[in-house]
Amino acid sequence: MTTLEETPTVLATEQNEQGYREFSLGELHFRRDEYFVYITWPTGSHVMSADAFLRALQRDVAWEFFYGIVNFDGVIGTVNHYGTVDLFAGRYNDSYRKAELDHVENFPTPQIKATFEEMLDDWTNETFDPFAAPRETGSAFGVKNGENRKAITRHRVKAARMVSCTGDEQIRSDETGHPVNEHFVDISQDEPEIIAEPGFEDEVKAFSLFAYLSRSDVTWNPSVVSVCKDSLFCPTTEEYILPIIHGNDRVEWFVQLSDEIHWDVADRETGALRAKVVMRAGDVAAMPANIRHQGYARKRSMLLVWENADPDIPELIATGQTPTYPADF
């Protein structure tokens, strides 16, 4: 018997005066004009710069709502429940909470994903690449001006075993459309020397992670390069500002492979500042499971994000069976 998956309904208007469609998810409404995005809900309203909103929206869509909370800023964001997603306004903002003006609605993941994808597609002009650093892209602003579908639907790397393994994600090159980034022209492009005995060509595998990252054409986009059961190496290249404020639902680890990133760390629930962390090459640090963080990198840097994808962790933390920090000492 064949069953057809139900196509989620996207609630959107025709083009407004600036040429953009308006979108609704439950009682939340999204509208953009030349400069801004306007979000309204029954108890409030909010405005974001269009470029900041699109950079955040791009990550939320590409990451499929990631682990935990994706705060677009201090008011708007999503919480991933891995099958459904909360869309909230003010839920993780102390002032909105105290005033009881916050709003949360839960949606099946396919519904919010489809709506966000159409919003991203409609609101991204041909001049703007929301994955790029500011120096690499044109303007997000103005009235509706074409589309940039190629940029917003890039292939997301998800290695099953390790990049370069047979049948898995492959290394990057000029030929694959991944030139070395301007900030990484000093990174050696030499690959490891591999001598595999006959019959073991699929098992004796290695690649240059640094060369691979030097050719990344996106910023702030962790992508899986190696998999040890639920342990995922998700390196990424970082430049300018992490476009979202990530609220953890598990401990997350950072290994700074090159250069320097400054992190603001705040309370996950309220946004109250808890620490500032500066990471330089060789540094290793955990982001506890009860915080939110946002990073700043002047020069494009290589950051190894390390995740434990075990789906039981949020429940274990919520019930106190696993601590919010990595180790007792």
Binding site: P192, E203, K205, S231, R274, A275
Partner: protein, 166 residues
């Protein structure tokens, strides 16, 4: 022109934590080169842990013992030039109990067919396949980051390697 700043055993500048309202120990902040400088050759020092999963730092110096794990592991060379030898074990289960995780030491030379070698430099990442034996060799001291699962030889010395006060 931008200069990419990586680090090494001889040249690293550790960052830090400016605490406003938190315990610095919750960040388990360390530096892999500092850890390797204080390590014996090839001891596995845990620098990151997420339940059973670990990232372990090895000071690569000379020739390591042979090790094996019942699952894939990965070695990211973060300093030096490392040769990795791989052997397909004849009887991998003789080195593990069922359900084991993490790597185990193999006494002496492994019994099995040579799979090949990998010569890796800083920034190179190698697969250490499940049920194979692997050995590292280097002429000059280096650093290897291992993606693995905590095993009997994983060393936790958090208080020694992490920032505890600010």
């Amino acid at each position: 022109m931008f200069e990419t700043k990586t680090a090494s055993l001889d040249d690293y500048t550790k960052g830090g934590i400016e605490v406003i309202d938190d315990d610095p120990k919750h960040y388990a902040f360390s530096n892999m080169y500092e850890v390797a400088n204080a390590s014996k050759p090839y001891e596995s020092v845990v620098v990151a842990m997420n339940r059973q999963y670990t990232l372990e730092i090895l000071r690569a110096e000379g020739e390591s013992e042979w090790r094996t794990a019942p699952h894939d592991e990965f070695a990211l060379v973060m300093g030096g030039e490392v040769t990795i030898r791989l052997v397909k074990l004849d009887n991998p289960r003789s080195h593990h109990d069922p359900g084991d995780s993490g790597s185990r030491r193999i006494d002496g030379e492994p019994s099995g067919e040579p799979m090949g070698t990998i010569k890796a430099k800083k920034g190179h990442m190698a697969l250490l396949p499940a049920d194979s034996a692997y050995q590292f060799q280097t002429d000059e001291p280096g650093v290897i980051l291992i993606q693995t699962i905590k095993g009997p030889d994983s060393i936790e010395r958090w208080a020694d390697i992490c920032i505890t006060t600010v």
